[in-house]
């Protein structure tokens, strides 16, 4: 029995179809697997490798380049706090210190109850709401200490569960159309275009 669920595999099949080259689906598939498990499990890595036709080492080696992929288990909520220049100017370092106290973890750590993993992030492109924070890649900000405490308690109580889904950024919307065209189809389309163009030119010269 495979490790990836039928639902994930269905989405994976769509992704494998849309790219001219299977390997291009590697990163989206890692996102899907992480959506299922919260991190990239060794089992998922093996299955992804089979799906895109590379070795598991290549999947792991590729995934490890990217900040978003976790190769170890993480908490239910990954709290990523930007401390880059625009947020720094607005008090991000102080907020990050506060977060470490409130959650009682260091940067990169996970709380004992498994609820929160705290990360220091590079610029998240939310500088108009600095200091900004992402929880499972959903934006919050600008936040002061009180705002942060409120966010944490809302996350704990489940009040934000519609806004902050569990892990994974590709889980909620599926691609519905436009599967990869075959070379024949593409050639046929090109022929149609060519004749449409000739028609247009003919029209132009008569008008």
């Amino acid at each position: 029995m495979g490790h990836l669920s039928e639902e994930v595999l269905n989405k994976a099949r769509i992704l494998l179809e849309v790219y001219p080259n299977k390997r291009s689906a590697l990163i989206p598939l890692c996102h899907l697997a992480q959506g299922q498990d919260g991190y990239l499990t060794p089992e998922a890595i093996i299955e992804i490798a089979e799906l895109v036709d590379v070795t598991p080492a290549e999947v792991r080696g590729t995934a490890s380049f990217y900040d978003m992929f976790h190769l170890e288990p993480v908490g239910k909520h990954v709290v990523a706090m930007c401390t880059n220049i625009a947020c720094m100017l607005r008090g991000a370092d102080e907020l990050l210190e506060h977060a470490q106290e409130v959650l009682d973890v260091g940067i990169g750590g996970t709380t004992q109850d498994g609820q929160f993993t705290l990360e220091e992030a590079e610029c998240l492109a939310g500088c108009n709401n600095a200091p900004c924070v992402q929880v499972n890649h959903r934006f919050f900000g600008p936040l002061d200490n009180d705002g942060f405490d409120e966010l944490i308690s809302d996350l704990k109580s489940g009040k934000l569960k519609d806004i902050v889904p569990e892990h994974g950024v590709l889980n909620r919307v599926e691609r519905q159309h436009g599967l990869k065209a075959t070379p024949d189809q593409i050639q046929a389309e090109r022929d149609v275009m060519e004749s449409a163009k000739k028609e247009r030119l003919a029209k132009k010269s008569t008008s």
């Binding site: 590697l26 990217y66 978003m68 100017l89 492109a125 389309e189 004749s195």
Partner: protein, 438 residues
């Protein structure tokens, strides 16, 4: 403001950003959506390219290369690709983020117009992975656009077909660099490719000719086709045609994205005018500002009256870059600011080139010890020396010793900080602590 910059055409790319649900097809159509594409499909592809050429639309991704020229350089080939760069990770840049979340159909329309002009049948939008909502909005909009017949086979009955894929990034600044982006899109680590031979126009995605354009660049296309390239070129100044979104952040009262006509507005306007930044946070004095993203050298208050054009800013030794302006008020510790920027480059260097990989680490270390009070007086010379090894001569634009320009961008902020605020470095070292109480 100098000369009230209310051009009746504005806003162009950001016109729907204030609408609550412009990301839905219904609202998009009700506000003129897909009219540009319909018009383009009535034209010859070459004429579409010509309009873009006439518009003198400069790329909005950072390098400012004219889009029309880039298109004309695409090598003829049976298979060609168009890839849209929505990786937006340059610190303090957040314009594409808004365009993706709030007006995804405008991007899709621009992509299809560009694909038609270029004769491309397969296009990709590379969207930064951290934009979870953006990815959802883009994919939903794409589904709607396929249903509406604006993407896919035989678009609006024109005989033209293009497939479009929304591709997620996974968190790596370097993937904004176009060749690293293509590597990532091929399912690999985001290592920039060496040019030559890997110029995307000749050897891009899957080694086929490829155009890479920024999100904001293509978002301008529907308007340009609707109103003509000449109308776009009539706005702006010198080679900086049209309007552009500036992302304003840091110590201003109203940080945000502001679209202005190029050259008609100065830094003073955008930072102080109530319509834009609204002045300095806490009414303190302005200390310095970064004119175009963290790869750009800093400016002092004496340059506030420069107009926002590529030429004007280049003439003073910096760049417009990604269009992000970061404002420092007098409470800012310049050592800390420069250190934080160097930490960013250290974390994001892909590690292929020695000067960038090693240099970024050294610079971060030295800057950190100066900031935290354990620096030595020689450190100031030392850090400049390391910078000089990455970009010899420390000129602007920097000399290239590496595969991509991330490396040579590292010295900008360090050199600016030392040149403009040397006394602060000295004070940190003499007093053995950050003199701004950080």
């Amino acid at each position: 403001m100098s000369e009230k910059a209310v051009n009746k055409n504005l806003p162009i790319v950001s016109k729907r950003l204030g609408l609550p649900d412009a990301y839905k097809l219904e609202t998009y159509l009700a506000t003129g959506g897909y009219d540009g594409l319909k018009k383009a499909l009535q034209m010859n592809p070459e004429d579409v390219s010509n309009e873009v050429m006439k518009a003198s639309l400069l790329g909005r991704g950072g390098a400012g290369f004219p889009a029309g020229r880039k298109w004309s350089m695409l090598k003829a080939n049976p298979v060609k690709y168009l890839v849209i760069n929505g990786d937006e990770s340059e610190p303090a840049t957040f314009k594409d983020h808004d365009l993706i979340e709030l007006d995804p159909h405008q991007i899709i329309e621009g992509v299809v117009i560009a694909s038609y002009a270029l004769g491309v049948n397969q296009a990709f939008i590379f969207c930064r992975g951290e934009f979870a909502l953006g990815l959802e909005r883009l994919q939903s909009a794409l589904n709607e656009a396929y249903d509406y017949g604006a993407v896919g086979s035989d678009i609006f009955g024109s005989g033209f077909s293009v497939d479009l894929v929304v591709h997620p990034g996974a968190g790596a600044y370097i993937c904004g660099e176009e060749t690293a982006l293509l590597q990532s899109l091929e399912g690999k680590r985001g290592y920039p490719r060496i040019k030559p031979p890997y110029f995307p126009a000749v050897m891009g995605l899957y080694n086929q000719p490829t155009v890479v354009n920024n999100i904001e660049t293509v978002s301008n296309l529907p308007w340009i086709i609707q109103n003509g390239g000449d109308a776009f070129a009539a706005m702006g100044q010198d080679s900086s045609a049209g309007s552009r979104i500036f992302a304003l952040s840091g110590h201003v009262k109203k940080p945000g994205n502001y679209e202005v006509e190029m050259g008609k507005v100065t830094f003073r306007d955008i930072i102080f005018d109530p319509e834009y930044g609204g002045g300095i946070l806490d009414d303190l004095e302005l200390k310095a500002f970064i004119p175009g993203g963290v790869s750009a050298p800093w400016f002092g208050p004496e340059l506030l009256d420069l107009p926002l054009t590529q030429e004007a800013i280049a003439s003073k030794g910096s760049m417009l870059g990604s269009g992000s302006i970061v404002v420092f008020n007098e409470s800012t510790c310049p050592v800390r600011a420069a250190w934080r920027i160097s930490k960013f480059f250290y974390r994001e260097s892909c590690g292929q080139c020695t000067p960038c990989r090693e240099g970024s680490g050294w610079i971060e270390k030295i800057m950190h010890r100066i900031e935290t009070g354990s620096g030595r007086m020689e450190d100031i010379e030392l850090v400049l020396d390391v910078c000089d090894n990455i970009a010899p001569g420390l000129t602007w634009p920097p000399k290239q010793t590496t595969i991509c320009v991330l490396g040579p961008s590292i010295p900008s902020s360090i050199v600016s900080a030392v040149n403009m605020f040397k006394q602060d470095f000295v004070d940190h070292i003499e007093k053995g602590k950050c003199t701004f109480g950080k």
